[in-house]
């Protein structure tokens, strides 16, 4: 099971691929990210690697299950999904989406 | 069709913006000589130029010590400096050594991964022709020449460093 993530080209904000939403297929809120089957994820990754005017540095985030990151990616993806863990922007991303932490 | 500017096939353009057909051919080391406008590999040039007449081209790879060519420069009309990747900056030193240390005044050409955003630095280092990957090579040269009026440091292009303008002799 995988998530597809990237950064938006124009502002660098973290994006998560979500199916069946608005036109772009991306959301800034990790809580809404679609959990993808590995094969579908690989195809989507190839597609979005070529769409360089929209997103930058797309890659796949492996999951153990729907809400659990693999251990080795935990801190990085937790921080990307929720915001830095310290300072005045602590958990900014989670706050902006008016939710608790995900993962 | 890719939007990417560098997806265009390389075209020969001079530092004055003239686009021309590239008449030079890179020979493999065991190819017979006798072609007009033959470019030799660096190793072959060093080994054979001494015994040759005429004027040749030489392809210099990033790791080649271009000073080894010094004894043979009178037989060299063109030097192609290879940039296998545009991030490999050794060709810039090669160019300056050729122009400023060895006094090479033939055609100095950048080949390989040559893109418009490096043209200005290349011209400053003494390149006067380019096999450029661009939709509009002449426009790329014009643009590169228009970017900077001044330079902080001297190089191979004769531009006076700013300190010389501040303190005219």
């Amino acid at each position: 099971m995988k998530l597809l993530t990237a950064n938006r080209l124009t502002d660098g904000l973290v994006l998560w691929y979500v199916e069946g939403s608005d036109l772009s297929g991306w959301t800034e809120d990790a809580a809404l990210a679609t959990r993808l089957e590995d094969e579908a994820a690989a195809l989507l990754l190839d597609e979005w690697k070529a769409r360089e005017t929209e997103v930058v540095a797309p890659y796949l985030v492996p999951l153990i299950d729907e809400n659990t990151l693999v251990k080795r990616e935990y801190v990085r993806e937790h921080v990307r999904a929720n915001g830095p863990t310290a300072g005045q922007t602590a958990f900014d991303t989670a706050r902006q989406h008016q939710r608790g932490e995900v993962f | 069709m890719s939007l990417l500017n560098s997806s265009h096939a390389p075209q020969l353009v001079s530092d004055q913006g003239e686009v021309n057909v590239n008449g030079w051919t890179l020979l493999a080391d065991d190819d017979a000589l006798g072609v007009d406008q033959a470019v030799l590999s660096f190793g072959r040039a060093i080994n054979e130029l001494d015994g040759l007449n005429g004027r040749y081209g030489v392809r210099v790879a990033p790791g080649d010590d271009v000073r080894k060519l010094a004894p043979f420069l009178s037989k060299v009309a063109l030097i192609e400096v290879a940039f296998p990747g545009y991030r490999d900056g050794r060709g810039y030193s090669t160019a300056r050594i050729l122009r400023q240390d060895l006094g090479f005044d033939g055609e100095l050409r950048a080949v390989g991964d040559v893109l418009r955003d490096q043209l200005f630095w290349m011209m400053r280092c003494g390149f006067n022709s380019f096999l450029l990957k661009d939709a509009d090579p002449a426009g790329a040269i014009r643009h590169a020449r228009s970017l900077y009026t001044h330079a902080y440091q001297s190089a191979a292009d004769g531009l006076k460093p700013v300190w010389a303008l501040r303190h005219p002799a």
Partner: protein, 547 residues
Amino acid sequence: MYQYDQFDHAMVAARNAEFKDQVERRLKGELSEDQFKPLRLMNGLYLQLHAYMLRIAVPYGVLSSRQMRTFAHIARTYDRDFGHFTTRQNIQFNWIKLADTPQILEDLAAVEMHAIQTSGNCIRNTTTDQFAGAAKDEIDDPRPWAELIRQWSTFHPEFTFLPRKFKIAITGATRDRAAIRVHDIGLQLTDKGFDVYVGGGMGRTPHLGHLIKSGLPGDRLLSYLEAALRVYNRYGRRDNIYKARIKILVSALGPQEYARQVEEEWATLDQAQIDAPHAEIARIKSFFPQPAYAEKPFDVASLERAKAADAGFARWVRNNTLAHRRDDHVSVTISLKPTGLPPGDASSAQMDAMADAADRFGYGELRVSHEQNVILPHVAKADLYELYRLLDQNGLSSANVGKITDMIACPGLDYCSLANARSIPLAQDISQRFADAELTDKIGDLQIKISGCINACGHHHVGHIGILGVDKQGEEFYQILLGGRADEQAALGVITGKGLSAEAVPGALERLIKLYLELRTDETERFIDTVGRLGREAFAGALHEPA
């Protein structure tokens, strides 16, 4: 400080126009990300975990109050209201949009600032002593030379695609506050010219720089640097980014052979075309006069009374001020390491307050130190109490300069895409554990330096206590190094004991400090000196809980 002339303005304007065009072409897809990346890096723009990060150059750490206010403006207008001062005397903003960057660069150009060459495989900001021009132990002011190097290295056409980044540091005092021994090139100004050290660096394979030239005359500095860079550009490794710094080349060739190749190359250069004439050196020097010192009668008794009445002020004077070349002035360090906040950060309000402080009490001039603090180099002793009150009202009066809580910490995995572990929460925990003022003063001078990965932006190799974040199968662990020093007795710290979890580090440090307090000869023997005297092994056991 240096003022741009028409040529300097033209350079920055030209670069901004060039970059604006490159951004547009990237947005349109005419440039790939791979082609664009080195171009944006050469203008200080990184893609980090959350957004783009813009690193703005503060050349040799010197800035005016007007420039500091512009940082506040950028923080408010384009970012989330704060900035981070770095270990190369620059400032970083963490939430920048690519699309905004051309306008930000224009805003900066209006106050003679830029983000040129703050990243990329090129020559970076030349850093120096934050007390240059003020310190009592100064032999010669390094700032004009740093400015000379800045100009020579800006848009240098031959050195735009080096094997790797290139960092130069310069010092002009007997104490080295610029860490020159861990830079690619370190320059020591002496009364006989420059001593040149090459091949220092931290990261995966730390090295101290080797002295390859003594007594280099200032008017030959640029051509010598050109030769040194050319040898590196030609022969530095390009096959492996972890082996691409000049320290690897110098180590492989041996310093003598490297020096010989530099001399050989130097002899082929048309030095008269490269070395700036005396007139230019004099012109640049003319921008660094002593300030027009205010003749403010300084009454020792009244200062002592103020200290007696306000213990916080007394402590701040003791810890945060440094002797100045003039007896009636001091240099003041504004600590950006308050308890429990990210080291080196300042809010836009705090930036404005520091600018105000500089205008009222500091002749309009500020410095950024590589230890991530801000300095007012010239403050009349008569003004100290008023300055302290102003700083105190703005959360800028932490009296911990040089002490255990004055830590260097990189942004770490909270912001940086290269990191293995977070550093800011650890720094906050440590600062909370040692928050007690009496304890901090009792411990005395102690430098903790924290890096979130082996790239060592937090300088962990040269901390008295260095902390390196590592990833152990997805968990953050921290290796402790002991005995590092960044000064003129530079030394690389050595890993001591096993890696510790984040929770275990503050307790380990407490045991370490407790042992130090027991073992030191008296309170004048600093931690680093006790480690030097007794060896790290004496302290290794304290790091881990007794069985």
